[in-house]
């Protein structure tokens, strides 16, 4: 008997079977790699916090991240954000991890500062979906390195401005270079940074 390929029943059954088969394979592939993906995510987040505190950099081997993290950092949950506290060279530092809207999706970043929020220790983007090559450059080191030891402005914020495009590394001026070709992303990150500074100050005040 030859199947009538144009019959409604054949079409429905075929579509159903094909969907089931491919979706099941995908589900299995996802399940198999799930623990790996979660481990990657956790490591990524820990590395970002360590980097913000200046306790690790991109060359830190993955095997050391977890132990380094548990040794030096205390987590503290505050509403809607996670705070991290670390003591470096006898000085306490506060970091805040926060997720706020970006241009294409949420941006998650960590900002570490002294408890008064006057000198930024470091800034690191954990997760973002901005345009690769444009807004996506907020994940690059030239961008985050600008925040190292940056003094905040008298009103307690960091300003984003158009600059040379190579980064603004003067610690005293409270200003960083925005990303060329990504004004909207830069605005979102600016809001995120200043919100984190405000939160860090609140938490720092209770230390």
């Amino acid at each position: 008997m030859k199947l009538n390929r144009n019959s409604i029943i054949y079409t429905a059954v075929f579509t159903f079977v094909v969907c089931i088969v491919f979706v099941v394979v995908l589900a299995i592939a996802n399940q198999v790699t799930l623990s790996r993906m979660n481990a990657n995510k956790k490591l990524e987040s820990q590395l970002a916090v360590l980097k913000a505190f200046g306790l690790a950099d991109s060359s830190t081997p993955a095997s050391e991240i977890d132990s380094k993290y548990s040794q030096s950092i205390t987590e503290k949950n505050v509403d809607k954000a996670t705070a991290y506290i670390a003591t470096i060279d006898g000085q306490p530092y506060v970091a805040v991890q926060l997720t706020m809207p970006g241009l294409w999706g949420p941006i998650t970043a960590v900002l570490a500062t002294d408890p008064k929020g006057t000198v930024v220790r470091g800034f690191e983007v954990v997760d973002q979906q901005e345009t690769p090559g444009l807004g996506g450059r907020i994940s690059e080191s030239w961008f985050s390195d600008q925040f190292r030891e940056k003094q905040t402005l008298p009103n307690g914020t960091i300003a984003f401005a158009q600059g040379s495009g190579k980064g603004n590394f003067d610690p005293a001026n409270g200003t960083v270079d925005a990303v060329t070709g990504a004004s909207r992303t830069s605005d979102f990150v600016n809001a995120l940074v200043n919100r984190e500074l405000a939160l860090a100050r609140q938490i720092g005040g209770t230390l």
Binding site: R5, N6, Y10, T11, F14, T15, V18, C19, F22, V25, L26, A29, N30, T33, R36, M37, N40, K41, E44, W104, D127, Q128, Q129, E130, T131, P132, G133, L134, G136, S139, G165, T180, G181
Partner: protein, 223 residues
């Protein structure tokens, strides 16, 4: 010329996606400001179109005509999600950098184009080759454009600095407009060259149908 070598030559040059079919332009504009992303994109597209064409061709006798496009999208997106999962699990840094572009491979017209134009009516082995050749035909053009854009835009290749600090990066090369004019210039050069090669072939073999034959060689006699 055997069928498979024709398929390969067509994909890489005579019927290359960017220059002749003018497909896949969207991603050409989007990812070519950086060689590493471009390479991953090219590998992803080549994998998805070759495997997608293979699967769809193997199923072609079974797929009801009415739902063939739905099945094509399903199969192609299946391979795209596989790429996404593998990158996420084993290359998290690259996955992060490419962001939404991996998922967007499915919107690359080359995939559906080859599935519909070739895999739907050819055997699996040949369809696989066709998908691969088209992916790579798309790929080499992208890599050339990305080389120009990354070099002029960042002064680097694959992220390695090539020129010293004296170099002033051409910011426009990193942004979308440069892709538009670079792709246009490349199209212009390629089509000019092709037209000349075809004219030369015609001269060499008068009366033979011009078009699909390789430059300089007599065009294949059909019928």
């Amino acid at each position: 010329m055997s069928a498979s070598s024709k398929v390969i030559k067509d994909g890489l040059w005579y019927n290359t996606p960017i220059f002749v079919q003018v497909l896949g332009i969207c991603s050409t504009l989007a990812v070519t400001n950086n060689l590493k992303n471009t390479l991953i994109m090219v590998l992803g597209v080549s994998f998805a179109t070759s495997m997608g064409s293979l699967t769809l061709s193997a199923l072609r006798e079974l797929i009801p005509r009415k739902v063939r496009m739905i099945v094509q999208v399903l199969v192609l997106s299946f391979y795209v999600i596989i790429i996404d999962i593998v990158l996420r699990a084993y290359q998290p840094a690259i996955s992060k950098q490419l962001g939404p572009y991996v998922g967007l491979i499915i919107t690359n017209c080359i995939l559906m184009g080859r599935a519909e134009a070739f895999a739907a009516s050819n055997p699996p082995g040949l369809s696989f080759l066709d998908g691969l050749a088209n992916g790579l035909g798309y790929g080499w053009v992208l890599l050339v454009i990305a080389t120009i854009r990354e070099f002029l835009g960042f002064g680097s290749l694959f992220g390695f600095k090539i020129v010293g600090d004296w170099f002033t990066p051409w910011t426009i090369m990193v942004m979308a407009p440069s892709a538009f004019f670079l792709v246009a210039i490349a199209l212009w050069i390629a089509n000019n060259y092709r037209a000349k090669a075809e004219a030369a072939a015609k001269k060499a073999a008068p009366g033979a149908p011009a078009g699909s034959g390789p430059a300089g060689a007599p065009a294949p006699q059909k019928g």
